[in-house]
Amino acid sequence: MMNSNAEVNKVKKGKVLVAMSGGVDSSVAAALLVEQGYEVIGATMQVWDYSQCDITEGSGTCCSSIDVDDARSVADKLNIPFYVLNCEAKFKTTVIDPFVSAYLQGQTPLPCVNCNTYLKFDHLVKKMKELGCDYLATGHYAQIVQDDNGKSHIVTSTDDWKDQTYFLFTIQPEIIPHLLFPIGHLKKPELRKIAEEKGLTVARKKDSTGICFVGDKGYDQFIKEQVSSEILKSKKGLIKRYPHGEVMASHEGIHLYTIGQGKGLGMTYHEKLFVIKIDAIENTVWVGEEKYLMNDTVQVIEPHLLSDVVDGETLNVKIRYQHRGAEAKVQKNENGYLLKFTEPQRAVTPGQAAVFYRNQNTLVGGGWIKI
């Protein structure tokens, strides 16, 4: 049994359920919580049946759940209990299906937000409560601060490049006091150093890039596997020149294009052309000069706020994950919010989120871009 001091300390600090993906970020998050004296329980959400990936019975080894094994080995090293939660069905309906259908509607989806909305900050919050935990921790690059009134806010991470608050705008405000982001104050090299020092096997593991369930095959291949060939065929159409509509070429499906795309259009032309918009009804991909990509007015639907917005308030808005953020006036309307940017923005893409920040770093909320 544990010695009594450690026991008292843990009772005081509380009990934490930590989401462990098997990556270095959440592994270090778990390690730091243990060091800080929390009672820590690790959990990995099994979200996708990797056995379906590439491997069928009788052909080679299974790539399945290497990440789950990594998470488990970190939990062993930290000597904390660890469980795998089966979230496959929920992940399919709330993340995969909307992801595929958004592409088929000519949008560029953002599955990580749905995963946060329906799995990490819903399913795991439920598990946290059921297990009698006080907190849920994740390895997100984000921080939580309290204002003078004791209200908790999510703010951006110390590492600007890694900040992931963009994906967190759908969190319910009332659960913020129950959240811990143990690595939000670290820069990646510091984090890797901690992982090395603590002897975590994942210390040198490559950063995950892209969408976890798509893997190396690319999203077009993924969609091909998920959708019948009839549906894919029905998405073929024409590429037209914006704004006058001269036909430039035909294409193999609107899901293969994204707003602002300049490469891989399958045409040679004397000037550089970009995808300006995608018409999912006519299956038309509109291409044109870069100037047509610029927009200063953006409609945001299905908004979600973590704290109040004064109507007409100027906030800093990010329109995609890697966007640096730009000033916009935020005006409520019947569909959500209308954003008026001070400077026009390039390639505003339906399906992506517009996320609002106050004072550059405090997450206020956001919504989905619709033009």
Partner: protein, 401 residues
């Protein structure tokens, strides 16, 4: 180790249908048999000990289960045994007799083998089993024909503990001169079984369900029943199963079998404790139900449905408090989809997800059961509160079905 995990260090193990701890007798045998590292197939003196172990274990097993030692084949476990049986029968009859009648609640090693045979041309008739664990014998009568190669049914179900009508099935099989296979994994150490009594052609066993080591199984093949090797190799097991025998594991089975005479007493003890446990649970946990509780069951198994409580979370919570239980079959954990067996007997998805399996063992004590029931009630209440689960103002809803 410093900073010992939050897992309670003094644990109470109530998952004996998944595997059993090693009995003291077995632990001692392991120490003793370390010297028996020789290859039993060798000619020199180092093979003598291993040879003796094989001979003695086979002899004792045959005595207990009333068959001939020659009818027993040592292998790696019941999954191998079940695969061997189904594939052997297929090899013998192929399309000539390509129909198989198999209960709908079999272990995956039977289900997946059967599905594999389907790809080769077999037709599988899955025998329905109801909520009370009753197998539909009229279905068997209806489906059996001169195309039937095999009837396969487990002795007792690993999840609900219900006993299947082996005697009746063996009679039907005999009448129609159809081969009969019984997966006896859950019978070992829980129920008396005689292979002389019944017309069973194949029976499969695993040592690790009976307080012995993993990696050893016994396959009974009645003299004259078709057999084809699953593993070809050396002349081991009279050429019926290639591969050097797992002597240490087989020796551990011998040690476990040497305590077999305690079965009657242990069974009585487990029945009393299990019944006490269930009656306490039904008293203290509103809306809890015992699946197939009034049906003939193994003495040690209790399958519970606890509405408002996700089995996955319940298992985790109990684990953290020092209790090992199960939500379904251990083979499929890590993938806690609702148990196919519970779905097959007609539980809803929700009921299956609210299920918990508690399986007692020879060493389970009254104190352990008392502590367990207390903790279970506390944990259930906490989870229900966290989910704002509404309990109607009456506990008379509890029932055994």
């Amino acid at each position: 180790m410093s900073g010992q995990s939050e897992l309670r260090s003094e644990r109470i193990y109530l998952d004996h249908n998944a595997t059993t701890p090693l009995s003291v007798r077995v632990q001692q045998s392991i120490q003793k048999n370390i010297e028996n590292w020789g290859n039993p197939s060798s000619i020199h003196i180092d093979s003598r000990g291993p040879k003796t172990i094989l001979r003695e274990t086979r002899k004792l097993f045959a005595e207990i289960f009333q068959c001939s030692p020659l009818e027993l084949i040592f292998n790696s476990g019941a999954s191998e045994g079940n695969n061997t049986v189904l594939k052997s029968v297929w090899s013998k009859y192929q399309m000539e007799k390509n129909e198989y009648i198999i209960s709908a609640i079999e272990h995956p090693s039977v289900v997946k083998s059967a599905q594999y045979l389907e790809t080769l041309g077999a037709v599988i008739h899955w025998i329905p089993v109801d909520k009370k664990g009753r197998l539909d014998l009229s279905f068997v009568q209806h489906k059996i024909s001169n195309k039937t190669a095999l009837i396969s049914c487990m002795f007792a179900n690993n999840e609900t503990g219900t006993l299947l009508p082996i005697r009746e099935l063996s009679q039907i099989a005999q009448q129609h001169q159809v081969l009969f296979h019984v997966d006896c994994v859950q019978a070992l150490g829980k129920e008396v079984l005689s292979l002389a009594d019944l017309k069973i052609d194949y029976a499969t066993f695993s040592a690790h369900k009976f307080y012995a080591l993993k990696g050893c199984g016994v396959l009974f093949v009645r003299k004259g029943s078709p057999y084809t090797n699953l593993i070809h190799g050396g002349g081991q097991e009279r050429g019926r199963r290639g591969g050097t025998e797992n002597i240490l594991s087989i020796a551990s089975l011998l040690a476990a079998l040497q305590g077999y005479s305690e079965l009657a007493e242990k069974k009585k003890n487990m029945t009393v404790l299990r019944d006490q446990m269930e009656s306490e649970i039904l008293k203290t946990i509103p809306l809890a139900e015992v699946t197939a509780g009034l049906s003939p069951r193994l003495a040690n198994t209790s399958s519970l449905v606890i509405p408002g409580v996700d089995g996955e979370t319940l298992l985790m919570s109990l684990d953290l408090k020092g209790f090992s239980v199960s939500t379904g079959a251990a083979c499929s954990s890590g993938n806690p989809e609702p148990s196919p067996v519970l779905l097959a007997i007609g539980l809803s998805r929700q009921e299956a997800q609210n299920s918990l399996r508690v399986s007692l063992g020879w060493g389970t004590t009254a104190e352990e059961i008392q502590t367990f029931v207390q903790t279970l009630a506390e944990v259930v209440q906490r989870i229900r509160e966290a989910n704002n689960f509404f309990i109607p103002n009456s506990s008379s809803e509890n029932k055994v079905v």
